[in-house]
């Protein structure tokens, strides 16, 4: 029982990161119908920026906020300078995917060149404390991360449903042309969408770094795959789905790796991969997503 509780919390701890990154993916997908394969590397890059602030003596919470602000700027600029030139949401998704893969390479290698490929040490954001839950020692870190995730979900729910900006974001997603005619500044809205996603990604990055107690250039790659899996499971157009999907993927991976010997830690990625294939076969729109009707 103690081991089980431990594994559940380990799974949740990993799942929170996937959920936050999946949230970033979903925000971009909702705003522009596109997938950003550089989302994870963007998160890694902004985490290095946070680390630079931290190294200069800025407290961690301020460094995180600063990194999120910088991330917002990078995301918005990427949209304005690059994605728009490819036609934005109306452009060819294939070309945009290739461009985001190009960004992936530049950010990954660029971070290595700027900050060095060796992992840099980072303190744990919520400290090293532990709480006893059902006989298992649960680190305060997990509870803190779950709290942050809950705040993010509530915040984004309010943003999308209760603010004018959220309304604009939803309008642009549903029909760009009509939204433009109704007076929504489409370009600015989409820039904000990409900026928000990168800012959320920065949070995912700093939390990952704080969990690993280090930051290195390849830390977000596996997380990105899990985040895509989470978004597929939850539905690409549902923020709630992304969060639930992330937590499920984290839990399932941890429990399968822990209890099924054939898979073991070497094949950590397999359960998530199989889950995605099953979801695509059985319920392609995901748990919370809305089914799309294709029109020519």
């Amino acid at each position: 029982m103690q081991l089980f509780v431990q594994r559940v919390f380990d799974g949740l701890q990993a799942g929170v990161i996937y959920a936050i990154l999946a949230l970033a993916i979903v925000v971009i997908f909702r705003a522009s119908g596109l997938l950003n394969f550089a989302q994870g590397e963007l998160a890694m890059f902004t985490t290095f920026i946070a680390w630079t602030f931290l190294d200069a003596g800025v407290p961690w919470w301020a460094a995180t906020i600063l990194a999120a602000v910088v991330g917002f700027g990078i995301g918005a600029l990427l949209y304005r300078l690059l994605i728009v030139r490819l036609g934005g949401p109306a452009g060819n998704p294939l070309a945009i995917v290739i461009v985001t893969i190009g960004l992936f390479l530049i950010l990954n290698d660029g971070a290595g060149i700027i900050w060095g490929a060796n992992p840099a040490k980072v303190p744990r954001v919520f400290g090293d404390g532990r709480v006893e839950v059902l006989g298992a020692g649960i680190s305060v870190q997990v509870l803190g991360l779950l709290g942050v995730l809950a705040l993010l979900v509530i915040g984004f729910g309010l943003l999308f449903q209760r603010t004018k900006l959220g309304l604009a974001l939803r309008a642009v997603t549903s029909n760009q042309e009509s939204a433009g005619l109704a007076g929504v500044k489409v370009m600015t809205t989409l820039m904000i969408g990409w900026g928000l996603a990168s800012a959320i990604g920065a949070l995912a990055g700093t939390f990952t770094a704080s969990q690993n107690a280090s930051v290195d250039t390849n830390m977000m790659q596996v997380a990105l795959i899990y985040a895509f899996a989470a978004a597929t499971l939850g539905g690409f157009d549902s923020p709630l789905g992304a969060v639930v999907g992330g937590l499920i993927i984290g839990l399932v991976s941890e429990l399968v790796v822990g209890y099924v010997d054939v898979i073991g830690p070497d094949l950590r990625l397999l359960p998530g991969f199989v889950l995605v294939l099953v979801v695509l076969l059985v319920r392609p729109q995901g748990l919370f997503g809305s089914a799309q009707v294709a029109r020519a």
Binding site: P93, L94, L281, A296
Partner: protein, 366 residues
């Protein structure tokens, strides 16, 4: 170029390339062999990207599958190289169909997502199956204990055994091993390129282009969309796996680090840079990618990923059809000018005369 001139140029190039190994150093011959396997693997990817309008980030895994299958079958089980190649291609086809079936039924970029997972999963799988694959160390020409020609290994000792193992030139050819390997690769690459060329011009190929351009219309016109897409993905995986066979034959060693996501992305760069919607494109792209790695000095190697990233973005912004697309555009412009100068004022619109109209590639159209 008129078709006849095109064939003539092609023939001359073929003769020159075939003669080259007689005059250049071994290392250069091996470099050309490397270009050929990258080109074949990129060709497999181009079939998916250029004609199917989908992106695979997992073709490196299929290359790895082919290379490991070849290595294990030939070294441990004494299977002839040709048969091992057949097994690699057929096996990859089956895996490709199994992966493509869920991912391709739905329109969108799901194939990219699933294949990204495949690319990252493959090295993990290799390590997990370490008993057969040699784990993180990988495999060389030595059979694992109790398999292969253990008696011969015992009798000759490791050094002399290795001198005989692997893909050797038959005595009747009078060729060095490197040269023989290059010629075999050349023939295989030619077969693969002709196969893709004929496939894309066949009923299947036209259905693919129809699907790429308008899936609903294609379906209404009677194209069995799901089947065409899944089978093409299987064939493309099989071709990539042939590239893997060539990898194993060339390097005589495999290890999981050779088949990471980096390889998949390198293949994407080769296909996109050369021109994904053409047959020659992957060969052009592969040559550039391999030679680029060659000319970048060792201490600057760490910049190579940045360079590839910039190349991908620039190609998409400036020349979505890749180098071959640029060439086609230049040729069309020259032809227009030539026609205009020949019959000024009365020259017919060249689009009605051009036997090879500038077909928009999936990456060009908005």
């Amino acid at each position: 170029m008129s078709p006849r001139l095109r064939w003539a140029v092609f023939g001359v190039l073929l003769v020159v390339v075939a003669a080259l190994p007689q005059f250049v150093a071994d290392t250069f011959v091996n470099r050309m062999s490397e270009i050929l396997w990258v080109a074949v693997a990129a060709l497999g990817l181009a079939l998916v990207t250029g004609y199917n309008g989908q992106i695979s980030l997992g073709h490196g895994a299929f290359v790895g599958f082919g290379a490991y299958t070849t290595m294990i079958l030939t070294v441990d089980y004494g299977v002839p190289f040709a048969l091992a190649g057949l097994a690699a291609v057929v096996g990859a086809f089956v895996v490709g169909v199994a992966v493509g079936l869920p991912a391709l039924r739905i329109t969108g970029v799901y194939l990219a997502l699933v294949t990204l997972g495949l690319a990252v999963l493959f090295p993990q799988l290799v390590v997990r199956l370490g008993d057969i694959t040699g784990g993180t160390v990988g495999r060389q020409l030595l059979p694992r204990p109790g398999y292969g020609d253990a008696a011969l290994l015992e009798e000759l000792g490791q050094r002399r055994f290795l001198a005989q193992a692997g893909f050797r030139a038959p005595a009747w050819t009078g060729l060095a091993d490197d040269q023989w390997r290059f010629y075999v690769f050349g023939v295989l690459a030619l077969v693969a390129f002709l196969l893709v060329r004929n496939l894309t011009r066949s009923r299947v190929g036209r259905s693919l282009v129809a699907i790429r351009d308008n899936e609903t219309a294609a379906e209404v016109a009677g194209v069995r969309v799901d089947r065409a897409k899944v089978i093409t993905f299987g064939v493309s995986a099989g071709i990539a796996s042939l590239g893997g066979w060539m990898f194993a034959v060339l390097n005589n060693a495999v290890s999981p680090t050779s088949f990471t996501i980096t390889l998949s992305i390198t293949l994407l760069v080769a296909a996109v840079l050369g021109g994904a919607a053409s047959i020659v494109g992957p060969l052009v792209g592969a040559s550039i990618v391999v030679l680029l790695r060659e000319v970048i000095p060792a201490e600057q190697q760490r910049f190579s990923q940045v360079v590839f990233g910039v190349v991908l973005i620039l190609v998409m912004l400036v020349a979505p059809g890749g180098i071959v697309g640029l060439y086609r555009r230049g040729e069309a412009a020259l032809r227009r000018r030539w026609l205009a100068s020949r019959s000024p004022g009365t020259g017919p619109d060249d689009s009605t005369l051009d036997p090879t109209p500038d077909v928009p590639t999936p990456l060009q159209e908005a």
